[in-house]
């Protein structure tokens, strides 16, 4: 699949990454998507691998997921200051959990990366606390229907936009966003980041909200 982020003009030097710039990027993105319609109709490789694992217990596909996620999960774990061996224990536990709980993966609700992120964060929190991390009640999901393909693609596009917003950030801003999502900032520190970096991400998140909200209402 074409890496869209590489084809997009970066924000000009010195420009801030306010919602305006992001909105501008979204506009360019829209023009692009007209030319690249074919790219918009395929799920990501990760989604295909994960569905093969879920539906066929496909070990080859799992190996592909391993190659993509293991080095990233390890990088995430190493940031907490643990040793390489400890970080690889986390990698192993997270990916084995993904294998065992594959039935819970629903591409219409979450990207593979988002799902793996949740498993990895749960694991890291459980490591430092006695109590299991509280999680919301699982929704009872109806059987998949035709609408799901559309939702899955909408989610893929939303993630593409988030990815672009992240790659357009200045290095120090990007570092701040990474810290926030990797559990290195407290909620008060996140709150204090009313400035640009998280604002950019937030504006992207807001765009995805209406769709997600609509989807969830349909489940009721």
């Amino acid at each position: 699949m074409l890496e869209l982020s590489d084809t997009i003009e970066r924000a000009p030097d010195g420009a801030d990454t306010s919602a305006g710039v992001v909105a501008g990027m979204a506009l360019k993105r829209r023009t692009l998507s007209v030319d690249k319609t074919t790219d918009q109709t395929t799920p990501t490789r990760q989604t295909e691998w994960m569905l093969a694992v879920r539906d066929r217990r496909d070990k080859q596909a799992f190996a592909q997921l391993f190659d993509f996620y293991a080095p990233r999960i390890k990088a995430m774990a190493l940031r907490t200051g643990m040793s390489g061996a400890e970080a690889e224990d986390i990698v192993q536990e997270v990916l084995l959990t993904a294998w065992r709980k594959a039935a819970q993966f629903d591409p219409a609700r979450a990207q593979v990366s988002s799902w793996i992120y949740q498993i990895a964060r749960n694991r890291q929190v459980d490591l430092v606390r006695k109590e299991r991390r509280p999680v919301p009640e699982a929704l009872t999901l109806p059987e998949e229907d035709e609408g799901d393909a559309g939702q899955m693609l909408a989610l893929t596009q939303e993630a593409d936009k988030l990815r672009q917003a992240l790659s357009a950030l200045a290095p120090d801003q990007r570092e701040m966003v990474e810290k926030a999502y990797l559990g290195e900032l407290s909620h008060t520190e996140i709150q204090a980041q009313t400035g640009l970096p998280l604002g950019t991400i937030k504006s992207r998140i807001r765009l995805g909200l209406e769709r997600l909200r609509h989807e969830l209402k349909e489940l009721r």
Partner: protein, 212 residues
Amino acid sequence: MNTIRHHISQPLLAAYASGALPHPFALVVAAHVSMCDDCRARLEAEQAAGGVVLEALECADLSGGLKASVLTLLDDDPAPARAEPRAIGPYPAPVIEALGGQPPRWRALGLGTRQRIIHASDAGTVRLLHIPAGQAVPDHGHNGLEMTLVLQGSFSDDCGTFGVGDVEIADQDLEHTPVAGKGMPCICLAATDAPLKFNSLLPRMLQPILRI
């Protein structure tokens, strides 16, 4: 389903998604999200952002044998589905799970108010409170953050009226006297990261005993 008007703020949702939110508040967020589709959508959006951050991380080198050893651990049968906790009465699933699968056993606090402490540690305290209809919770301020989620009935204070599913987020700038609504007792899930400051002598004296 009634309309929820008071939600979890974005920084708190992001902190919950990242795992940085202290346990007492994480329980309130998980309970609210169980009751509120809007916040579930907003949380999933935060998790999508987290996924993108994970994807974009610079890869770490793996030791040679890791992949092979993980692959040998793959079993062919999917794990038997663990029974997911479910809500019981007004108590959302994460609260039931924290209570060990049972509705709460209460302790009397005096004047008809009851409580059940779910968790108390350096990270803070999270408790269930059961307040008789129309009765006030002693006037108090906060040393830190307080999150209160209504599970049954309602309460009102200077900030407004909070019904089932609503969450009030209060910090040290707020001194309030919540009063339970009429009709039925108010049950709420309240998390604090520091002891409450009561403005009258008697509750202050009882505080060490009651741990409120």
